[in-house]
């Protein structure tokens, strides 16, 4: 994809975590506090003492953690430009410096019980800080490695499942049906199909401009309308969508395909799919709602591969920052996805870890 931006980059496997990512931040907090708890446990002789030790550690740890995180948040655009090992060095230097600074100047304030500012105590705290940060960086590095291969696996699986064979063969059949009488429409249909399959066969990690995904989804709907005629209606609600927004490719189209296959097709009189895209601050929201047969008459034979794929991809790409919600009503089905609003030319490329 030359036009799309990619979250895959050469250094994907060798990248620092994105310190502006909510999921990353939560993990850092959890793991470092977990380690503090371990330390407290190992020093204590009873449960009350564990609490006391933990409090003591936390009074020093929390200011260090917060200040380090704030500094890294600010430095993030600069950090991504460094090569991985320089990045690691930079992060460790920041951790060491912040620890030193806080212990030296605020030791008494934050940790009155243990306020000897001996050089040993300073060195020990600095060393502990660097060890914790190295453990965290190693954890994130391993996690990125693990995820990047599962992105790859997911992509392979997705390639088979994303566009249904049912759709492929029915559409080819429909094109053959109109080719003698309406050759022009048949041409357009084949062009649309080519666009769709080109997208389906490209790298699933690519981000594309939102407008492009919308365009592709419209082409997809045009193809289905060729087959189903009046029975398929789509109501697009695209309120002042940002021109520069990026979304993972083939996020909207599979939702529509699901709505057509499980929702509209089994309905004798057809129906109307509601597509709503909107921006809410730093968040993009996609809602697809379609009518469907009442639950009892609904065939459960169709697999849920498409939706599972989307959920998995969102998780891999955005971690805790994307949300996915399905509502199954008596006679409707509604999927809502919210994801961070990424711009076309972001200085920092979004990645999950």
């Amino acid at each position: 994809m030359n036009r799309g931006r990619s979250i895959k980059q050469n250094t994907m496997n060798e990248a620092l975590p994105n310190f502006r990512n909510l999921g990353i931040t939560l993990r850092i907090l959890l793991i470092s506090n977990g380690m503090a708890l371990l330390l407290a446990l190992s020093q204590a002789n009873d449960w009350a003492e564990v609490m006391r030790h933990m409090l003591q550690i936390a009074t020093l740890l929390t200011p260090i953690l917060l200040s380090t995180w704030m500094l890294l948040w600010v430095m993030q655009p600069w950090l991504v430009q460094l090569s991985y090992w320089y990045g690691v060095l930079a992060v460790n230097v920041v951790v060491a410096a912040v620890t030193l600074f806080i212990c030296y100047f605020g030791g008494e304030l934050f940790n009155p019980l243990d306020s000897d500012n001996s050089s040993f105590s300073l060195a020990r705290n600095m060393l502990l800080g660097v060890v914790v940060s190295s453990v965290l960086l190693t954890y994130f590095r391993l996690r990125t490695l693990a995820l990047s291969s599962s992105v790859h696996d997911a992509r392979l699986q997705v390639l088979r499942a994303r566009i249904r064979p049912h759709f492929l063969f029915n559409t080819i059949n429909a094109v053959l049906g109109i080719v003698r009488t309406q050759p022009k429409q048949a041409e357009t249909a084949l062009e649309d199909m080519a666009d769709l399959f080109r997208m389906a066969m490209s790298d699933a990690r690519d981000l594309v401009p939102l407008q492009k995904e919308v365009q592709l989804s419209r082409q997809y709907i045009a193809l289905e309308q060729m087959r189903m005629g009046e029975r398929l209606q789509v109501d697009w609600q695209l309120q002042d969508l940002p021109e520069d927004a990026l979304i993972p490719q083939l996020l909207l189209q599979p939702l529509l395909e699901n709505a057509v296959y499980h929702g509209i097709e089994p309905l004798h009189q057809g129906g109307n799919i509601n597509v709503k895209l909107s921006r809410n601050g730093e968040e993009l929201r996609l809602v697809v709602k379609n009518p469907c047969l009442p639950s009892g008459e609904w065939s459960h034979r169709g697999n849920k591969v498409a939706l599972q794929n989307i959920r998995e991809r969102l998780h891999l790409l955005f971690d805790a920052e994307a949300h996915y919600q399905v509502e199954r009503g008596k006679d409707f089905y509604r999927v809502e996805i919210s994801l961070p609003y990424l711009r076309v030319r972001p200085k920092l490329k979004e990645r999950s870890a």
């Binding site: 492929l168 063969f169 429909a174 053959l176 049906g177 109109i178 060729m226 005629g229 004798h268 034979r301």
Partner: protein, 254 residues
């Protein structure tokens, strides 16, 4: 038709207009090799039944995946016709159905359909004859959505969710809905098996829709056969006897 016995009368059923056009095109291409006539087409099962009742048709090309009533169910209703046509199923992609078809050696065509392949099926069609009803039952993974009853030159479809009870009487089975009764020729035990999710047997000769049971009343004769309990169904005054063997129903649904 001009009384020419060798002309094959073909009928098309498919919910997608371009798919029907495609079939017409290919059938026209086949016409040179095998004299045939397209006598009509329908976009869904109900329309097909209404039209086919007054027609003499040799072959029906029938799409499997259609809204409301799938092709396999429609083929079962077509057996109620005076002279059931030969059915050739068509599908673009349906793993389950294709496996089942292979297993039972039922002819099917994959869309897009090639002229050569269609010719092959059509020329075999006359000798092959209609697919047996039992086989059709096995092809379908789900129960039918309708029962059908042939009555005064018309085939009535009875949506299964409207049926309150089915009772075996001599040769026929009486199917009761809130409005009226229909007679169908099927076996009660086969119906019980097919619709076990929806119906429960309350008597040797009677299946009742579970949702329709309103309550139970004491009454009726107390004999070796009958337990003295009667079932009351929603919207019906008539009471249905529960046999001694099925007496546990009273506890389960009471």
């Amino acid at each position: 038709m001009s009384g020419n016995e060798s002309v094959l009368n073909v009928f098309i059923v498919d919910d997608e207009p371009p798919a029907r056009t495609r079939l017409r095109d290919v059938l026209t291409d086949c016409n040179e090799a095998l004299p045939l006539k397209i006598v009509g087409e329908a976009a869904n099962g109900r329309e097909a039944l209404d039209k086919l009742v007054d027609m003499s048709v040799d072959v029906v090309l029938l799409d499997i995946r259609m809204p409301q009533m799938d092709g396999i169910e429609l083929a079962q209703h077509l057996h109620k016709l005076q002279k059931p046509p030969v059915v050739i199923f068509t599908t673009a992609y349906d793993e389950y159905a294709i496996k089942a078809f292979e297993l039972h050696a039922v002819d099917y065509l994959l869309k897009p359909i090639r002229k050569e392949r269609l010719l092959e099926s059509l020329s075999r069609a006359r000798e092959a004859g209609p697919v047996q009803n039992e086989v059709l039952h096995e092809l379908s993974p789900e129960p039918r959505k309708n029962l059908s009853s042939h009555e005064r030159g018309k085939i009535h479809l009875i949506p299964i969710e409207q049926v309150l009870y089915m009772r075996a009487e001599l040769k026929y089975i009486t199917v009761r809905t809130a409005d009226r009764e229909y007679l169908i020729e099927e076996s009660l035990s086969a119906l019980e098996k097919e619709f076990s999710a929806r119906f429960v047997r309350i008597h040797r000769n009677c299946l009742v829709a579970k949702d329709a049971i309103e309550g139970f009343v004491r009454g009726g004769e107390d004999s070796a056969e009958s337990a003295g309990w009667m079932a009351k169904l929603k919207g019906l005054d008539e009471l249905l006897a529960i046999s001694r063997r099925q007496q546990h129903i009273v506890k389960e649904f009471g």
